[in-house]
């Protein structure tokens, strides 16, 4: 039995997302694993912000368009990084609540390793009420999770790996 055969990298516009993709590509290569990338357009948050009156409807629409464009940009980059190491990646964007979509993807695709980029500051504890989607996903997915924090290290390893 292979330790890692199917890897999912969660892609968003956080500072460490690229490092997560670089790490995922290198691990996919090392373990000869299938690689998936997922960007979740957080439509739940947009709806919640309108309900809370923080956003007006026109803002929701504006941000939804920006998130679509953001997703395309990051998925293109993920495909480019994978191609640079001759690794296939199935990268897609979906709409919904990130932690639910991540978990569903992991279960439906029999993922055995989830890789996410995590800012160091994220590990500062906030009240339970304010825990973010990525943190919830990390806690709830049934597979192993690798949190990538060190952007420089990931980039250096990616650039020097042959």
């Amino acid at each position: 039995m292979k330790l890692i055969s199917r890897i999912l990298v969660y892609i968003d516009d956080s500072d460490t997302a690229i490092a997560a993709v670089q790490t995922a590509v290198l691990l996919a290569k090392k373990f000869d694993a299938e690689l998936f990338g997922l960007y979740v357009i957080n439509t739940k948050a947009l709806s919640d912000l309108v309900k809370a009156r923080i956003f007006v409807e026109s803002e929701r629409e504006e941000y939804a368009q920006e998130l679509e464009a953001d997703a395309e940009r990051y998925l293109r980059l993920a495909r480019k990084l994978a191609a640079a190491k001759k690794i296939d990646i199935v990268a897609e964007k979906i709409q919904g609540t990130p932690h639910r979509e991540i978990r569903e993807f992991v279960e439906n695709n029999k993922i055995d390793l989830l890789i996410v980029g995590v800012d160091n500051d994220r590990m500062k504890s906030l009240r339970e009420e304010a825990v973010g989607d990525k943190d919830v996903a990390i806690r709830r997915v049934p597979c192993d999770v690798l949190c990538v924090k060190n952007e420089e290290r990931a980039e250096l390893c990616f650039d020097t790996e042959e």
């Binding site: 968003d12 500072d15 923080i54 906030l126």
Partner: protein
């Protein structure tokens, strides 16, 4: 760069002195500028008030979340202000505002901006958190309330 990354003691103002919405937003913008978050306060201010013109971000229950995205800032910044006397923020419920979250973000990274605002919205749903924030006397009190 979600909420936990944005809460900084030096960006928390207790107590605020402003009594009106315009003065309160300007007070927190000046505060962020003094802390080096941006230099072009005119552009940032215009973005905040442009959003405010669409609908007041005085959400009710004593809370306001003015926000804007602008290229005049390179990284997201959050100021938190606590007023002891209350601010006339033209809130939806007509009541004064005691806690203000002012969020400014660059136009890039929309996902991170939404995530941070969403986490503020989630906290607002916990009445005990907002009640404790209103009672905060120092920046450290605010940090303590927002942390576990």
């Amino acid at each position: 760069m979600a909420l936990a990354s944005l809460i900084k003691k030096e960006h928390i103002k207790v107590p605020m002195t402003a009594q009106t919405k315009t003065a309160a937003i300007n007070e927190l913008l000046e505060f962020l500028k003094e802390n080096g978050c941006f230099t072009d306060i005119k552009t940032v201010s215009a973005a905040v008030f442009e959003r405010e013109a669409l609908s007041s971000t005085g959400l009710g229950d004593g809370i306001a979340v003015p926000h804007a995205k602008t290229d005049a800032i390179s990284a997201p910044a959050l100021a938190i202000g606590v007023s002891k006397n209350g601010i006339d923020f033209q809130s939806h419920d007509g009541e004064p505002v005691y806690v203000v979250f002012l969020m400014i973000a660059p136009k890039s990274q929309p996902g991170q901006h939404i995530e941070a605002l969403s986490e503020i919205a989630k906290m607002m749903q916990a009445p005990i958190v907002m009640k404790m924030l209103k009672k905060a006397d120092t920046a450290q009190d605010v940090i303590d309330v927002l942390s576990e």
